[in-house]
């Protein structure tokens, strides 16, 4: 008996969107907590925020926005039948994602090196508000970083699939859904950046 592989483009895309919306709900909780603690400790949130590196944060935002551009261009390219360009663009997206993580690693190392980490004695001396700020900072940027890492793996796999023509100009939902995931990771950062870096 011949089996036919059924493809459901609309269904696959709706499934991805539902997943993305569940991701939004996941980040909603800690963000709500952030607003409450910031309302209660405005001065300490402000002083804690000055300890972050605004230059690196801004640079990382530009990197993530640019990676999102490449992902969007990759989807347009495959629809136009330019598979090689599409594979290259999605690979570049993954590379920029890795650069983002590397810069985040430099930032975290510097902050931890100065004694700003959950449970550190130096942080306790600076007051409860700063402990809460850094707790939320590490949790949210950490969870976001984990999403970036998963995205880099996903985009790299997609690049390989395009180069093998498993994903091609006639069947590109895997690329489209990976790109959707990446854009969501970008959107989450669009909010995290002003909330943590731009208080003071």
């Amino acid at each position: 008996m011949e089996t036919k592989l059924s493809r459901d483009y609309a269904g696959a895309k709706i499934g991805m969107w539902l997943f993305l919306l569940s991701e939004v709900s996941f980040f909603f909780g800690p963000l709500a907590l952030y607003t409450i603690f910031r309302y209660r400790h405005p001065a300490e949130f402000r002083s804690a925020s000055t300890e972050l590196n605004l230059t690196l944060g801004t640079l990382n935002t530009v990197i993530l926005l640019t990676s999102s551009l490449f992902a969007a261009l990759s989807v347009s390219a495959i629809k136009k039948g330019r598979e090689k360009a599409s594979a290259l663009l999605i690979a570049l997206t993954a590379v920029l994602g890795a650069v983002f993580l590397f810069i985040k690693y430099i930032e975290w190392s510097a902050e931890i090196g100065r004694g700003f980490y959950p449970g550190s004695g130096a942080l306790f001396e600076r007051g409860k508000g700063e402990v809460l700020y850094f707790g939320l900072y590490y949790f949210l940027t950490g969870m976001h970083g984990a999403h970036v890492f998963i995205g880099v793996v996903l985009l790299s796999i997609t690049a390989v699939l395009i180069s093998r023509r498993t994903v091609n100009t006639n069947d590109y939902i895997k690329l489209e859904n990976s790109a959707l995931y990446w854009h969501l990771v970008d959107i989450i950062w669009i909010y995290l950046f002003p909330l943590f870096y731009l208080i003071s």
């Binding site: 709500a32 409450i36 926005l65 551009l69 261009l73 347009s76 970008d186």
Partner: protein, 94 residues
């Protein structure tokens, strides 16, 4: 059989990216100037404009049917109601 979905021009994506970077520079600029009580509202408003651009163009929502748009809208309403309950509760606990 080609798949569905709108084809967005390269040019459109590049223009959106320019707008996103410009809005980022604007938000950093505003924060550095420190214009009092707009310090909280302005960056979040700008972030929401950026999110709208990413959703509409990079994520093709502008070109999708009504179903996904309603889906997103319903989730946003639910989250708004949830926020209201949370703040209401926290407000009464003092």
């Amino acid at each position: 059989m080609a798949q569905e979905g709108a084809l967005v021009k390269y040019r459109t994506h590049i223009l959106v990216w320019i707008a996103l970077v410009a809005l980022l520079l604007l938000t950093v600029g505003i924060a550095r100037m420190g214009i009092g009580r707009f310090n909280i509202a302005a960056p979040l408003a700008i972030a929401s404009v950026k999110t709208f651009l990413v959703l509409a163009f990079f994520m093709h929502l502008k070109y999708e049917g009504r179903f996904l748009k309603y889906l997103l809208f319903i989730i946003l309403v639910i989250l708004a109601v949830e926020s209201w309950f949370i703040y209401f509760d926290v407000g009464y606990r003092g």
